[in-house]
């Protein structure tokens, strides 16, 4: 019995030591990206951007003079796993802030933990509008774009290609539904004579799209508006091209399928008539800062043709650093005040977090994907920056 009590006490002490682990001599960032399973394609590059930011901050003497350390957890693509990891980061590791998330469902789950535990969460990739609207709370901020911005850009693209009959094809989960809502809301103001003739909602993780392709082609639409990201698009394109899908329709898509990680890997399989978006392109530098950022990233990644995700993770960390320096420390309430209305210089230009809805005015690059002489992959040409509506 005595031994039991002793070990119990020891466990208690260890736990107590675990709490309050965040000391004044370091700032702990809890970072959550999917680094295993299907999400690793995105989480891996995102972690590179995150690490690059932390290295740069520490090389410059830290944030507000304090060294920054990272505690990373695998958020998977699973809201429950991400919420558990976020809780553990707060209660056991005592992190000062949570940064990251990928899937919208995961972002919402981390945000809920942040609200309960009163710890700041900066969503760097999840785009569901709910995070900064219905589920907005003082502790959550978003440096990614959102489904209303992206939906508005989709409607602008419909106008640009003069689409009349639209097939609305979105994935059957938070991001797809919210993006469809954003698009339908914006369509009448940009392209009043366009109408949706078919609505399809493939499931998240679907691999067989033949049946959808058949439906789209049978509906007679001239434009597909979508947000099938990553492998969903790869699979749709590979299966749809032999049917002649991309000869019949212009394929307008959110979900960053214009990013180089998709275009580069698909090579000759990337279809015709695709207009899409990306946050960043290694071959397009809108600012001098981007050139420098891209060069550092290329060194870290070991390739000149870098991915888009690192910059999102990088910007999230840089926003937090700027807020800590403005607030003069890591006190959550003060950092929240600092983040509201904060502007920082990023590789794609200055970005500002809105004081009301905690949403950064992050726009995206949009354009058609064209074959390039001497390249095995397509590139966006021409590249157009579309800021959020109202900017």
């Amino acid at each position: 019995m005595k031994r039991f009590v002793t070990s119990f006490a020891a466990a208690g002490l260890t736990l107590a030591a675990g709490y309050g682990a965040a000391s004044a001599d370091e700032i702990k960032i809890g970072v959550l990206y999917p680094t295993s399973g299907g999400g690793a394609i995105y989480g891996g590059p995102a972690m590179q951007g995150h690490d690059l930011a932390v290295e740069e901050i520490n090389a410059a003497g830290g944030a507000n003079g304090v060294k920054v350390v990272t505690v990373a957890r695998d958020s998977k693509l699973n809201p429950a796993a991400a919420a558990a990891a976020a809780k553990e980061l707060i209660t056991k590791e005592g992190v000062n802030v949570l940064i990251g998330g990928l899937a919208s469902s995961v972002g919402l789950a981390i945000s809920e933990v942040a609200r309960q535990e009163k710890v700041i969460y900066i969503a760097t990739i999840p785009k569901s509008i709910k995070i900064t609207r219905e589920k907005l709370h003082p502790y959550v901020f978003r440096t990614a774009s959102n489904t209303d911005f992206e939906g508005d850009a989709l409607a602008q693209m419909v106008k640009r290609v003069d689409g009349k009959k639209i097939c609305d094809v979105q994935l059957d989960y938070a991001y797809g539904h919210d993006l469809a809502d954003g698009f339908i809301k914006a369509l009448p103001s940009h392209a009043p004579d366009a109408e949706v003739v078919l609505t399809l909602r493939p499931k998240l993780g679907a691999t067989d799209f033949n049946a959808y392709v058949t439906q789209i082609m049978g509906s007679g639409c001239d434009t597909v508006v979508s947000g099938l990201w990553g492998n969903h698009f790869v699979n749709l394109a590979k299966q749809g091209a032999p049917f002649g899908l991309f000869n019949q329709v212009t394929y307008i898509s959110g979900g960053e399928i214009a990013s180089h990680e998709i275009a580069g890997k698909m090579g000759a399989d990337y279809p015709d008539n695709v207009v899409s978006n990306t946050y960043e392109l290694w071959y397009h530098s809108p600012t001098e800062a981007h050139k420098k950022f891209q060069a550092r990233l290329a060194k870290k990644a070991g390739t000149e043709e870098t991915a888009m995700w690192p910059m999102l993770a990088y910007n999230g960390v840089m926003f937090y650093r700027a807020a800590v320096e403005k607030a003069g420390g890591t006190d959550a309430e003060k950092v929240i005040e600092a983040l509201r209305g904060l502007t920082i210089e990023t590789p794609v230009g200055p970005l500002t977090i809105n004081a009301e809805d905690h949403q950064a005015n992050t726009g995206q690059f949009w354009g058609p994907m064209k074959k390039q002489a001497g390249r095995k992959y397509r590139m966006m040409d021409p590249v157009t920056y579309i800021p959020p509506p109202g900017e």
């Binding site: 999400g39 049946a211 058949t214 790869v234 590979k238 032999p242």
Partner: protein, 307 residues
Amino acid sequence: MSMLTNPTIVFLQFMNSISLGMNLFIIAAGLTLIFGVLRVINFAHGVFFMFGAYVCYSVVSRMAETAGAFWLGVLAAGAALAVIAFIIERGLLHYLYDKEHLMQLLFTFAIVLIMGDLAKMIWGTDQYSVPKPEGLKGAVDFSFGADLAMPLLYPAYPLMLCVLGPVVAIGMWLVLSKTRWGRVIRAATQDREMLAALGMNVPLVYTAVFVAGSALAGIGGALAAPRVAVSPGMDVTIIVECFIIVIIGGLGSLWGSFLGALILGFVNSFGIMIFPNWELVLSYVLMLLVLLWRPWGLFGQPEADGH
């Protein structure tokens, strides 16, 4: 709804159902074969499928783009998985046959995690694209000169799968029903103690079946590679679909899997036409209905009491 009255669309969806079903069948056939003989529910079947796709990619990407490269990739995928399965069965699984099912389940689940990480170490986390083989890149015209509003084109590659599925099914059926090895394998599903008492080398039968079933998963992965992105996580979707198929068809039944795969193909293709908002749950509802009506599946046998 009006699309159901459009014969072109109905025809294309019919073809989609069969091609999807046949690709799934080739993979699920291995799973059901292994269960039938070894009585092991092999969770690692999905990760074997993923390895097959990766091996095919590695072969194709190292060779010039010729029709032969892809088929060599398919063979290499089957061979690679046969070797991997041999090592796993002889080295590890072999010692677990007399242990409880939970141990075996945990073991195959451990293989999933280990091989998933191995794949990441070998191929990284990027997604890869395997081009369709020469000769199967285009589409076949089914309109036969008729003047139709919408061209009746069906892509050649999935069309090939529609043919290959039944070929695999009949081949497996012939081996199982007409050859001596087939008789031994069927006997092993019935009573392995008796088979051993008759002087048969039962462990060898088990090894052979595990190797053959796993090779089918590898081949299925290679065949899927030109249609889907080859990437981490592709094992998860497929293993769920395979389980739905073998549960509908009856665990251990070859023709059960064949029918189960076809049913799943039809539910997927026509489900989205008729119940577009219910696509997500249709296949699960179907599985549930079959389980309520015949818990042992359409072609399965009720589990007899052991002796």
